[in-house]
């Protein structure tokens, strides 16, 4: 469904990352871990077609995105930015329906059926009652959900989330992660950057660690999020323990030496 082959990117002064390859099946969630500045966001933007990779290819449903064009990519891939700054106070519904853009011709405006799709996707993230509110008046968590709703309206087969929980409080982080899990169970493939290794245990079926410009680990979450790997990726002592009564692993920082 998604194949990333030897992808590389450079801003002109040395590569940000190179030789990044992985693939993803339908309904899988891939968590990309790594320290700040490792190029996680850049990688996501390359897959989304926002940035042009220096080398390598991205194939979605077997087709190379280099030949799909921005509109073609946007019909298959929904991109959810970290947070957005709207200059003008669009209503939530007007904002979400913008996700229909890749499906409309250049001179067209959204029609009734597009508005209906926008309402449906607001319902999916549980924000139906906020449809007429200005986007800027929403809380951080609601804002993130609205961004997800806008990406869903694109009817993508792949969703890219760039640190969706980074500005959220604890409760909202959990809500967003639950939404991610629900979407995956409905068959959506998801690639998600996260700064919390623990999130990979919560939602991920697969994980990758990006550090020093390359993928240092890739595979099932249990094989990537290990004490040793996380310690070397983040440069601090980390332990991974099994919580027996929850049947789940957690990743914790160790204090001192």
């Amino acid at each position: 469904m998604l194949e990333v082959n030897s992808l590389a990117f450079s801003y002109g002064n040395g590569p940000v990352f190179e030789n990044v390859s992985f693939s993803l099946k339908k309904g899988e969630v891939m968590c990309i871990l790594g320290p700040n500045g490792a190029g996680k966001s850049t990688l996501i933007k390359c897959i989304a077609g926002i940035l042009k990779p220096a080398a390598g290819s991205v194939r979605i449903l077997g087709r190379d995105t280099a030949f799909l064009g921005a509109k073609g990519i946007a019909r298959h891939i929904g991109y959810v930015p970290q947070q957005n700054e709207v200059v003008f106070p669009f209503t939530v519904l007007d904002f979400v329906v913008m996700g229909r853009a890749p499906h409309l011709s250049m001179f067209a405006s959204p029609r009734a059926e597009d508005m209906e799709l926008a309402r449906e996707s607001l319902a999916v993230v549980g924000l139906s009652e906020l449809a007429e509110r200005p986007v800027a008046s929403l809380s951080g968590g609601q804002g993130q959900m609205v961004l997800i709703a806008r990406a869903l309206v694109q009817k993508p087969s792949l969703l890219l989330l760039d640190e969706p929980t980074s500005h959220l409080d604890f409760g909202n982080q959990v809500l967003v992660l639950e939404t991610v899990q629900r979407l995956a169970s409905l068959g959506m493939s998801i690639v998600m950057n996260t700064h919390m290794p623990d999130h990979a245990f919560l939602v991920g079926s697969r994980a990758a660690a990006l550090a020093g410009g390359r993928l240092v680990a890739l595979g099932a979450v249990e094989t990537v999020v290990t004490g040793k790997m996380m310690s070397s990726v983040y440069g601090v002592k980390v332990a991974v323990r099994e919580i027996e009564d929850m049947k789940r692993k957690v990743c914790l920082p160790l204090r001192g030496k």
Binding site: A70, V86, V87, A101
Partner: protein, 339 residues
């Protein structure tokens, strides 16, 4: 789904027509209702049935002096407001005016040069139009040649182009004949519709129609551009191409307006804000509303300019005197329709 909010909004669309009719009565020369109706019937029948045209003074005042000026005010107001609203959207800044890319300064220089060289009315307009477009092309090519990306480089290029043309305008003023050409230049730069004739309208109608039509058709896309380059791209938009199309169309509107009216400030800045207060920020509704409000606002101000005192007050002065306090009032109310 009947919404009384929308029906009230619909009423605003009738405003320009009502003002057009009302403005026919406004002026130093008295025109009673019966005369206006009578002359309108005659003009109508001469236009459509070929009866001999009326030659009365009233006919001349109404249809050769007032009507072309009224139509020009409507067109210029609508053009500047549409351009202003579009520029605000693509530059993601509610404080942007139609002159952001140096179109006003360029057109001003073109007109001053024409006054200095030829003093021919038609050439003044053509030079203003041409130099307005030239300023935009300079700003865009400068923006494209620079290493930076996004809208900021365009804004900076606009400032550079503006300041060059402003300096050149000063140079023209400096060498102009102080008794004859200089007053003409100064008066042109202050903006006026006093001398507009049908012939002038004829040649601005086409660029205005093209610019306004394309912007009207693309109006929903301006919403998406206002989200910023990366998000617009992620939503499948060819950002560079779309931005260029919108800039060119908005500049066509601005240049055409400036070429017959001179540089008129504030309209293109304030009207989009008033419109945003009425219909909200969605360009699907905002752009048509800006056209209507802009046309109405300009016509009202022009009516003022030709009635409050015996000699005309230049339009550019009045739009600032009316527009600036209005803007201050809107800021005070805190209902700008943006964050």
């Amino acid at each position: 789904m009947f919404d009384c909010r929308y029906s009230r909004t619909a009423l605003v669309y009738v405003l320009p027509l009502a003002l057009l009719i009302g403005s026919l009565f406004v002026g130093r020369y008295q025109t009673p209702v019966s005369a206006v109706v009578d002359e309108s019937m005659k003009a109508f029948s001469s236009l459509f049935f070929g009866t001999p045209a009326s030659v009365s003074t009233q006919h001349t005042v109404l249809f050769n002096v007032r009507l072309p000026r009224i139509l020009a005010a409507l067109l210029v107001g609508a053009a500047l407001s549409t351009a202003g609203a579009s520029f605000q959207g693509i530059f993601r800044n509610p404080l942007v005016s139609p002159y952001i890319l140096g179109v006003g300064a360029g057109a001003g220089f073109g007109a001053c040069l024409a006054i200095l060289l030829w003093d021919n009315y038609l050439l003044i307009q053509l030079m203003a139009f041409a130099f307005g477009l030239l300023a935009m092309f300079l700003a865009i090519s400068m923006g494209k040649a620079s290493k930076g990306t996004g809208t900021l480089v365009f804004v900076l290029s606009g400032i550079i182009v503006s300041s060059i043309f402003t300096a050149l305008t000063s140079l023209v003023k400096y060498v102009a004949d102080p008794y004859d050409e200089l007053p003409a230049i100064v008066f042109w730069l202050m903006g006026s519709l006093a001398t507009v004739r049908y012939g002038d309208l004829l040649y601005i109608v086409l660029p205005m129609f093209v610019g306004a039509l394309v912007l009207f058709l693309l109006r929903w896309r301006i919403n998406i551009l206002s989200l910023g380059d990366e998000e617009a791209k992620a939503l499948g938009m060819n950002v560079e191409k779309m931005r260029l199309i919108i800039i060119v169309c908005a500049t066509l509107l601005t240049s055409a307006a400036v070429s017959i009216s001179g540089v008129i400030g504030w309209v293109g800045l304030v009207v989009p804000h008033i419109s945003r207060m009425i219909v909200g920020p969605n360009y699907s509704r905002l752009l048509p509303m800006s056209m209507v409000i802009g046309a109405s606002f300009m016509l009202l101000v022009d009516d003022l300019s030709r009635t409050i005192v015996a000699t005309e007050i230049p339009l550019g002065i009045l739009t600032s005197l009316v527009g600036a306090p209005l803007f201050a009032y809107l800021i005070r109310r805190g209902r700008m329709g943006w964050n």
